[in-house]
């Protein structure tokens, strides 16, 4: 049998079979995940100081969950993310359909302007938002959740372009004849939109929503510039706690958020892969 065994040549980027590549991949994975693993591991460490392993405990999770200001911040973050997601999906989908479907003057300029929040450095966005809201001088002492309006608006501005990008790429695989077939069978414009275009867009809408949600949930820079003393979000709160010391409590809280984002992101990826399979199906 050995006579017939040939050595299969190495492909240029075959990570698993080339030693140098294996080392490279190992290093990348190490620097990427070691900090995260350490953070999660030490959230279970039975010690005030994050240096040596003293034993397993979940008490810091209890402590974090009982920390009222931390929980308020988490509540704020989730509320903002939820509202920003809904608004971003609607706005983003509308923008995507408009850009895909119609031809109008200065279309290229519109497209560029839409991508701006994605490419402009966050710090600049943050400063711009700060100046903008200072000029606007909105009332600051509104009841919850209206007091989150400022941050929510800021989040929508940088979330919805991502939704537009995802939905737009989904739309480009749409066969216009499907819509025409629906109309040919008697459907009005709106019925065709509801029965044919929306179902086609759905995976894009869900993926866009998850993207917007996670982006909003963990945003620090822009939020930092637009939040007031009573509207702390989770990332901002964690930052302020870390300024005193990195306690296992912070680790525990961060681990919870990591879990949340990992779950949501994997959901988004799964949907996107299904989207790809669907697009290839016809």
């Amino acid at each position: 049998m050995n006579l017939f065994r040939r050595k299969i040549p190495l492909a240029p980027l075959e990570y698993t079979r080339r030693t140098s590549m294996r080392i490279w991949v190992g290093l990348v994975l190490f620097f990427l995940y070691a900090p995260l693993v350490t953070l999660v591991a030490f959230s279970f460490n039975d010690s005030r100081r994050n240096i040596v392993w003293r034993g397993f405990t979940t008490k810091y999770y209890e402590k974090a969950l009982n920390n009222e200001s931390l929980m308020t911040a988490l509540g704020n973050s989730i509320t903002i993310a939820a509202i920003a997601t809904v608004v971003s999906v609607v706005l983003g989908a509308l923008a995507a359909v408009m850009l895909w479907r119609f031809r109008f003057p200065f279309k290229a300029a519109w497209e560029g302007a839409l991508a701006l929040p994605i490419v402009v450095p966050e710090i600049c966005m943050g400063v711009a938002m700060l100046a903008f809201f200072a000029k606007l001088d909105l009332p600051q002492d509104l009841a919850w959740p209206l007091n989150l309006g400022q941050i929510t608006i800021a989040h929508i501005t940088f979330c919805f372009p991502f939704v537009t990008m995802v939905v737009r790429s989904r739309l480009s695989s749409f066969n216009r004849e499907e819509e025409e077939a629906a109309k040919d069978l008697g459907a009005t414009e709106w019925q065709a939109l509801r029965d044919v275009l929306l179902p086609h867009m759905k995976p894009g809408l869900i993926a866009g929503a998850l993207l917007a949600f996670t982006l909003s949930l963990d945003d620090f820079v822009i939020t930092f510039f637009t939040s007031g003393p009573n509207t702390i979000t989770f990332p901002v709160k964690v930052y302020s706690m870390v300024r005193f010391s990195v306690t296992p409590e912070v680790n525990a809280a961060s681990a919870m958020v990591i879990a949340l984002t990992v779950i949501l992101t994997s959901l988004a990826l799964k949907l996107q892969s299904r989207m790809g399979a669907l697009a290839q199906g016809h």
Partner: protein, 377 residues
């Protein structure tokens, strides 16, 4: 038929796409009668789909008028037109099951759901898809998807069914079967069919009338046999079937006889006059099956056989340069004495007929005086 009014009337319709150098459909006028099986035939890009889409309402004519059942369609949107279309890409709805696809139009029309179920079952039976009602389109083959699209339109019982290459994805056997089904169906429900195809065999076998299109124009509108036997110009002669075309000069043109001098083929004698000839430059179209092959020794017999023209004998000599055995016929490529090539087909009437001739054999051929078609353009 003569007193019936056309179900579809296309009057001087032109469609110019923005930025396109020439119109996709150029001043086309057509009348299609109720119950007719009408076929649009032409090479890729000649404007067949565009014409069909204008009838369905998806493209607006740049100029001209389209009437369906006597009504001007200019302001009628696609969903209000009494026609249905089967798209070239099938356009089945990927997120709906086969049954939902087929029942969609009736659902939009708010038909009660039990009635929809019955009609869907009937329609699926008609296209031989019963049993696949619960499948999704991505679990179907191309031909099955095409039949879903067909059923989805048929179920609407339109006055006119527009079919854009409806059978292109089917295998030969199923295609023949569907051709019969379509013809039967048409007898049964009396729908008018307008079918687009670039498959001439399909067109010839199915159509009542065929419009051959070329670059947005109608090159000829005729029944299948007229199209084949009396092509109006070189384009049609060449596009429909296989043909030998020789350029020549009309040297004689009387009511009962004519002669054409072709440098490639020699003198061609006809037993009828040429109508409408105004120049002397003409083309002779001679189909491969209308030529008879002989071995050289039979020279006299050839002359005898070719004596049906008043003015002379229709024959030529050459050498066999190519041969392809196709089972029912054998096709020969022959180099004439002038150097021009001619194609001759010969039926294999007995089982060893293909052995009569071989490469580099010198042969004679003759044809009847009414076989060549004189083309003026």
């Amino acid at each position: 038929m003569s007193d019936a009014s056309p179900i579809i009337s296309i009057r001087n319709v032109t469609k110019r796409f923005k930025g396109a150098p020439s119109p996709a459909v150029d001043d086309v006028s057509l009348d299609i009668m109720p119950g007719e099986f009408f076929v649009l035939l032409g090479p890729s890009g000649c404007g067949k789909t565009t014409l069909l889409r204008m009838i369905a309402g998806f493209e607006i004519p740049t100029e001209g008028q389209i009437l369906i059942d006597g009504q001007d369609m200019a302001l009628v949107p696609p969903n209000k037109r009494p026609v249905n279309m089967v798209f070239q890409s099938y356009a089945v709805f990927p997120h709906m099951t086969v049954a939902q696809n087929v029942g969609y139009g009736l659902k939009i029309a708010r038909m009660p759901s039990d009635e929809i179920d019955t009609r869907v079952r009937e329609a699926l039976e008609l296209v031989k898809l019963d049993g696949l009602a619960g499948r999704r389109p991505d679990q179907l083959s191309g031909g099955q998807r095409q039949r879903v699209a067909l059923a989805r339109s048929l179920i609407m019982r339109p006055k006119v069914l527009l079919l854009d290459e409806p059978l292109s994805a089917l295998d030969a056997k199923l295609r023949a079967q569907m051709q019969f089904e379509l013809a039967d169906l048409q007898d049964e429900v009396g729908i008018t069919f307008i079918t687009v195809t670039h498959d001439q065999d399909e067109a010839l076998s199915m159509a009542g009338r065929i419009a051959v299109m070329n670059k947005g124009d109608i090159a000829q509108l005729a029944t299948p046999s007229d199209l084949y036997e009396f092509p109006a110009n070189r384009f049609v002669a060449d596009f429909v079937g296989s043909v030998n075309i020789f350029e020549g000069t009309l040297t004689l043109d009387e009511p009962d006889r004519a002669a054409v001098d072709c440098p490639g083929l020699g003198k061609v004698y006809l037993n009828h006059g040429v109508t409408g000839a105004h120049g002397s430059q003409v083309w002779i179209a001679l189909r491969p099956e209308k030529l008879y092959l002989h071995v050289p020794g039979e020279g006299k017999a050839v002359r005898e056989a070719a004596r049906d023209a008043p003015e002379g004998h229709n024959f030529a000599r050459g050498t066999i340069k190519g041969m392809s055995y196709l089972g029912d016929i054998t096709l020969y490529e022959i180099r004439l004495e002038s150097g021009a090539m001619i194609r001759v087909s010969r039926p294999n009437l007995s089982r060893r007929d293909q052995e009569d001739f071989t490469w580099d054999d010198r042969v004679s051929m003759h044809w009847r005086a009414d076989s060549p078609v004189v083309l003026l353009s």
